[in-house]
């Protein structure tokens, strides 16, 4: 079995609706079924607006150089630099040694200037990927910016919709925000909708590390378009605590989109199920299936059972502290992201109130657990200190991206968590 299920409790209320949590933990296999890695087809899309001047643009170019060194003849790449003008510096090419040296040569002429047409730059990169999109390729645009989109389409909702539509057509988008002046909510939303990853790069000297790491993950994808198929008992409703997309396929059938998984990646998904009332003693089963385009998960299926019982038995039942911790961490991460946005907008009071209210809820079920108590204390501290006044931009970015990594079940530096 390539995944397991853990439920927070075993009983549901017979006489009222109840909310219960289910953790699905997937572990991706170490290789693809064919044992060969999938070829990648990427576009590196980089900002070279005026703000990228000086060492940043040089570091970005070095990052491209280092990233493409990881590719070989199986792969394709293109390089796009954008400001208010879009330069397809390297049109999509097979990653031969010659092509990589030619790309290095072409990069020399790139310098920083102009404003930020992130939309067109990104679209041109996607176009280069789309020229060679195929069934057996990992196709991805890697978009790097250090500023706000200020030319072309800049609306978050519109960019997000395009990212989702491109994802449906086989081109994913990952985003990298450098420094303190980019819009973290926009870049994260594009990556979420685009089925890719979002990264915060505090220091331009880390651009190469982040870009190489993301490309490295693309090279190790073993399962594309992984999704959970969830069958609920009649009348139940499903919500997902993370950023994953959920679609309802029928009255009691739901699909949760997880995107691509890399070799040995561990990924938890927390489902929040709201059950309709029922008869005491009766069972309420939730069945989970895992599918992916590369059949790495071989359509595995498993189910967990809740049993209807009266209020007294429900109130006495034990809880899984492991599930509670994960649920608490996800609520805390979501609250931190929202609170950063409120703090940015100058609404310190609501930002603090939001964190304090999650802390209170966690204390309500912490039941002496040290980890949960610590989390509640941390949130309270943030509510009364960092978030109670204007936060420095660097702190906003690091809190926001840290919460983003947590919600996506990635490591503290944004990478896929792998089973050793």
């Amino acid at each position: 079995m390539t995944f397991d299920l853990r439920q927070d409790r075993d009983l549901v209320r017979a006489a009222a609706r109840s909310t219960r949590y289910l953790v699905v933990r997937l572990v991706a296999p170490a290789t693809t079924r064919r044992r060969e890695r999938l070829p990648v087809n990427v576009s590196l899309v980089l900002d070279r607006s005026g703000s990228m001047g000086g060492p940043k643009i040089r570091l970005a170019k070095e990052a491209v150089d280092r990233a493409i060194a990881a590719l070989d003849e199986r792969d394709r790449f293109s390089v796009v630099f954008y400001d208010d003008r879009i330069d397809v510096v390297v049109p999509s090419t097979t990653a031969t040694g010659t092509a990589r040296s030619a790309a290095r040569e072409a990069l020399r002429a790139v310098d920083a200037r102009g404003s930020t047409n992130l939309f067109e730059g990104w679209m041109r990169g996607c176009e280069q990927v789309a020229l060679h999109v195929g069934n057996d390729v990992v196709s991805r645009a890697l978009l790097l910016t250090d500023g706000l989109a200020n030319v072309g389409i800049t609306d978050r909702f519109e960019l997000e919709t395009h990212a989702a539509e491109l994802r449906r057509r086989g081109v994913a988008t990952s985003t990298f925000g450098v420094g303190h002046d980019f819009d973290e909510a926009l870049l994260e939303a594009m990556a979420t909708a685009g089925g890719g990853n979002f990264y915060y790069i505090e220091d331009a000297r880390q651009i190469a590390d982040f870009m190489t790491s993301e490309l490295g993950e693309a090279l190790e994808v073993v399962a594309r378009d992984v999704r959970l198929e969830v069958a609920l008992p009649a009348g139940a409703q499903l919500e997902i605590l993370g950023p994953e997309r959920v679609e309802r396929g029928g009255p009691d059938a739901w699909t949760v989109e997880l995107g691509d998984l890399v070799a040995r990646q561990e990924r938890e998904v927390v489902l929040r199920v709201n059950f309709a009332p029922g008869t005491p003693g009766e069972a309420a089963d939730v069945a989970i299936g895992v599918r992916d385009r590369d059949r790495a998960f071989a359509a595995d299926r498993a189910a967990v059972r809740w049993t209807y019982a009266d209020h007294a038995r429900n109130d006495r039942q034990p809880r899984s502290v492991e599930v509670d911790r994960l649920v608490a961490r996800l609520f805390a991460a979501r609250a931190r992201q929202d609170a950063v946005q409120l703090n940015k907008a100058g609404d310190y009071r609501r930002a603090s109130a939001m964190l304090a209210s999650v802390a209170r809820r966690i204390l309500g079920y912490a039941d002496g657990d040290r980890e949960l108590l610590e989390l509640a204390r941390e949130l309270d501290g943030q509510a009364s200190h960092e978030f109670a006044a204007a936060m420095p931009a660097a702190l906003q970015k690091s809190v926001y991206s840290g919460a983003s990594y947590e919600r996506r079940m990635r490591s503290a530096d944004g990478q896929a968590r792998r089973r050793a």
């Binding site: 030619a102 067109e120 041109r124 999109v133 609306d155 395009h162 057509r169 086989g170 599918r291 992916d292």
Partner: protein
Amino acid sequence: MPDAAYTLADLCGLADVTPRTVRYYIEQGLLRSPGTTGPGARYDDGHLARLRLIRRLQREHLPLAEIRARLATLGDEEAIAQAEGPAGPPEDSALDYVRGVLGSPIARPAPPAGAAGPPLPRLIADRVPSSVASRLEAGIVPSPPPGAEPSVSDRSHWERFVLAPDVELNVRRPLTRSQNRAVARLVEVARQLLEEDKP
């Protein structure tokens, strides 16, 4: 490539159908016969994908005759891609989509006087699921502030293609779809020529 051999029981378990259904589909020409019969018969991923595809198409209320006609046009790889891919694959390719978005200048309507916010720009309104569009109209999803975006006609710009270290092609966007295709070919051919002429 079909690469797994399943027994009838395996196949039925994976596709969630009964052996009787499998035999019926073979009789009806929806599935290839496994060649041999009896316990030695082996089925592959093509069979599995087709079974799943049949279920999906049945859920879309397609008659069996229509399903048979569709399956007949698919190779195993295509059937696998369709059965495992997301539901309701988009009709256009990623390339068509990008070029549709970038290539066609679509005027945006001005917000009507007194409206709560500007209407969803047409460029995207055509592509947004109606449920999302209605949430937007209801003000549930935040709309962009008025005047935040320049109109499409303001977005014409020059794009530079580097064909070789000393050769560039400049193109003023947006172009029509056919011009876009012509430019893409031009770049490809030019790069080939320049590659050949390398000393």
